[in-house]
Point group: C2
Chain length 202, copies 2
């Protein structure tokens, strides 16, 4: 089992979210989507109220170029958002509602593509509604649930889980308690699962 911890505001989470499900399927490894919020973690660990990529502009400038190259390599659309980071809490709660649905992965990839591929405002319910509609899902059956207390508690629980695992950024692949940070470690995480979870998988 691979748990993929991501924040919709995180550019490298976009690349990872586009890649992870196909990689796991090809490896025969089950996966779970784990939305969480990076903001409280950046505040607690670094005293930041902004993205570290804005706080360190030299690193931020490189990151946008690197993400652009990675998207070109994998064939994903890329458009640097006018506003960064976007407020991802509503999208993350909607992903929590979607977790058990067959269209969950498509919804998550669709929201990431709206943010980093199309430059749309993912804090807006209408953007999220457009993604749902494109999947044949009625937004009115999903978005109101995203504001309910059990869903808010679930997102907080995922963020608490991430903190307990030692998370400091996104995305992350987690195999048991073993943390792999960065979309560049997805293949290593899958290799780790193969080497260490074979007795549980078979």
């Amino acid at each position: 089992m691979l748990d993929f911890y991501f924040d919709f505001a995180s550019p490298y989470s976009y690349v990872g979210a586009m890649r992870v499900e196909a990689l796991c399927t090809n490896a025969g490894l089950p996966m779970r989507w784990r939305p969480f919020l990076l903001g409280p973690i950046f505040t607690a660990q670094q005293g930041l109220e902004d993205s570290p990529f804005n706080a360190q502009p030299v690193k931020g400038q490189y990151m946008w170029r690197d993400v652009e190259r990675l998207c070109a390599k994998h064939g994903y659309p890329f458009k640097k958002p006018d506003s960064f980071p976007q407020r991802s809490i509503l999208a993350a709660r909607a992903a929590c509602v979607a977790l058990e649905k067959p269209w969950c992965g498509d919804f998550i990839r669709g929201v990431f593509m709206a943010n980093f591929g199309l430059g749309k405002d993912i804090a807006s319910p209408s953007t999220l509604g457009d993604v749902l509609s494109s999947l044949g899902v009625d937004p009115a059956t999903i978005l109101p649930q995203a504001e309910q207390d059990p869903v808010k508690r679930l997102l907080r629980a995922f963020t608490d889980e991430a903190i307990a695992l030692g998370v400091f950024g996104a995305p992350n692949a987690v195999i048991g308690k073993e943390l792999f940070f960065g979309q560049d470690r997805l293949e290593d995480a899958i290799g780790w699962a193969r080497a260490h979870q074979s007795t549980k998988l078979h």
Copy 2:
């Protein structure tokens, strides 16, 4: 041409330095070793007088586990140093002296292995001398040159080059002006050189 910018105090530079020359040789791509100092860059960009991995302990704890896993994957020895970061300026100057020698790559890998594979103090001339001696090189012909002004100026020039390229960490592979940060981007950098420098190579 691939320029490999590294700091002997940087754990991910160890992994990258062990990998880069063989990768370039296999790709038929010439490479140049470019020692530089991260310390002044961390101070200028982040106001730090210490490694960011110490300033952010959650990230630092992950980094050591990640480097341990990477070394296991590639078959490199790993021992977390008692003291981190080590003072790397003398080793970097010695690498500047070594640049035109046929044993340059072996010296650089030997110093990294002393730091992160064997837990030795690379700020000590005797550690550097042991690495040189193991290569059949008399330390007395090399180490005194490391303290001479032209060598000090060369190391400062490499650090200034790194800053001009947008460097914020290490290691880095540079193809022309295109910056690839992290040992995980070495293959992408080589691919970039193949795609963009073919007219110059052939």
